[in-house]
Amino acid sequence: MPRAFPPLAIPASAGIGLRSPHIGEMLTRRPSAGWLEVHAENYMGDGAGVEALERLRQTYPLSVHGVGLSLGSARGVDPDHLERLRKVCERFQPDLVSEHLAWSVADGAYLNDLLPLRYDEEALAIVARNVATVQDSLKRQVLIENLSAYVAFSDSSMNEAEFLSELVVRTGCGLLLDVNNVQVSAHNLQYDARAFIDALPAESIGEIHLAGHAINRVGADTVLIDDHGSRVPPVVWSLYQHAIGRLGPRPTLIEWDTDVPVLDVLLGEAMWADMLSASIMFDRKQAARQTASAKPQPQSTRVSFEAEARTSMPVLAAFAVARAGTAVPLALPPIQGGYHAAA
């Protein structure tokens, strides 16, 4: 009989990926972290980590992120693994569940890496069928994450953004926008990162991932490696700023998987994400006020606190913008679509 947990909704703010070196400190300190995300595969056994997560789940909203379903496998998803994922969801009752647009199982082997698909009608039909199987089994919507890639396929008939958009239409899944993955793939395969973000259906994006990457130079080739082993670099903050400018605030995860630093570094990165998001929304309000005050307004007797407060951008938020490396444009485009988290 699964334990009953409070139904904690994931807020449209920053959270951190829970990693084993931090579990003890999370349990004793209970720091202010908006929400937690765990890799589903790490919680399919009965070890001490599982017991710890049950305790943390009492306090923190939870997202379960799968890395091993291999939604792109032509042979379909492994029913045993799907059942294990279902049990993890039943046990921890997460608010969000996500997986990747990738394959990692073929020829009877699990490669422990996320490989890209050939984006065509055949793959779309296979992935749509697999996503539908997963959503039917879990009885919930899942978010599908864009991939970091080092190669693409010559015979693809569409790009990844078109593929994801059609997947949303066919299955009703949501999307997880990994901004670092966008930067890595766009650099490695030479396309426009911002155009990729703009091409996704905004209302379907229920979560964002942020992480660092490594830069490897091999001969004339400079390749970005998605190693999740460093702070979020300025170029990714800048893309995140673009994404939030278009989407509005979204649950945003700081991912760190290799050379994991002390917990406070992750919490600090999460704070920056919140500050950046807040500063964008603050400036959007300021810009809207300026536009409104430039027009002749009918006299109103209603006095709002907001209308009177003409403060400058908060200092920390200003730092966040500075870290992103670019200035916030004065006139921001309106938010496209509403925010509909998968919750």
Binding site: E41, A48, A106, Y110, L111, A152, F153, L189
Partner: protein, 261 residues
């Protein structure tokens, strides 16, 4: 154009370095060489799975040197890649694989120590149930041969080699004296999860057989007779108290026998 399943099989075999990709024409990578980029996936797979094995077999790594371990791990990964994405299960076949490595043929203690480390990994991934105290059964008539349920994480290993001594010698703070540790001396080890660590103890033949019988559900009577057969001086009361003191007993039940009128 290859069907997707065929394409994925071809790529997977290339990533695992089983056979090279027949044609690079199916791949693109901007201005870069697609085959060089494909090697990133090969490297990711090999290095991440090697890291998994190194985390499970840290003492084995130290016994054979890290560079040699990485070489052997690469071969193991190529020949025996994971069959499922639950990596907590990956490495079960690694100790047996080490026995087939020619270079290690005169060092059987390496594979045996790896066997111990795999049992530790299994125990760490197993449930730890609330232990029962002996006093809880003071007023209960359990009959002559109750079933004693033990912690699911309990693992019992017997080896011709002094595997626990070797393992202990490589723990933090231990004084390493490999010459005395690497001896051909049978050791019987019981280990189980206690919180987020593992407890390991050496047992004599009788106590090992006693716990082994109980673990396999053969009942107290059978376990006792097995232990007494190996050691007529076997002390049942002491053995039972030790089971409870170790927190290994999770339940004691009266066995259900069919009515015989």
């Amino acid at each position: 154009m290859l069907p997707l399943e065929h394409l994925q099989t071809t790529m997977a075999r290339s990533v695992l370095a089983i056979e090279p990709l027949a044609t690079a024409k199916i791949l693109t990578a901007g201005k870069a060489d697609p085959l060089a980029r494909l090697r990133i996936y090969q490297n990711n797979t090999r290095s991440s799975l090697t890291a998994v094995l190194m985390a499970v077999f840290p003492v084995t790594v130290r016994l054979v040197d890290e560079r040699f371990f990485r070489f052997v791990a690469s071969e193991f990964i190529r020949r025996h890649p994971p069959v499922e994405s639950r990596l907590a299960r990956y490495g079960a076949g690694f100790p047996r694989f080490l026995k087939t490595v020619d270079t290690l043929s005169d060092m059987p203690v390496v594979a045996e120590t790896a066997r111990l480390e795999w049992s530790i990994a299994e125990a760490l991934d197993a449930a730890s149930l609330p232990p029962r105290a002996l006093a809880e059964f003071d007023n209960t008539d359990l009959g002559p041969s109750p079933d004693i349920q033990l912690q699911p994480s309990l693992r019992l290993i017997v080896s011709h080699w002094s595997i626990l001594s070797v393992w202990m010698a490589h723990q933090q703070g231990a004084v390493v004296d490999q010459h005395s540790a690497w001896t051909r001396r049978p050791e019987r080890v019981a280990l189980w999860r206690a919180g987020d660590s593992v407890r390991l103890v050496l047992l004599d033949r009788a106590n090992f057989a006693f716990r082994h019988s109980l673990k396999h559900g053969l009942g107290l009577e059978h376990a006792t007779s097995r232990a007494l057969a190996l050691d007529p001086a076997f002390d049942l009361v002491a053995a039972l108290m030790r089971l409870f003191d170790d927190g290994l007993v999770t339940d004691v039940r009266i066995p259900i026998h069919p009515l015989s009128n």
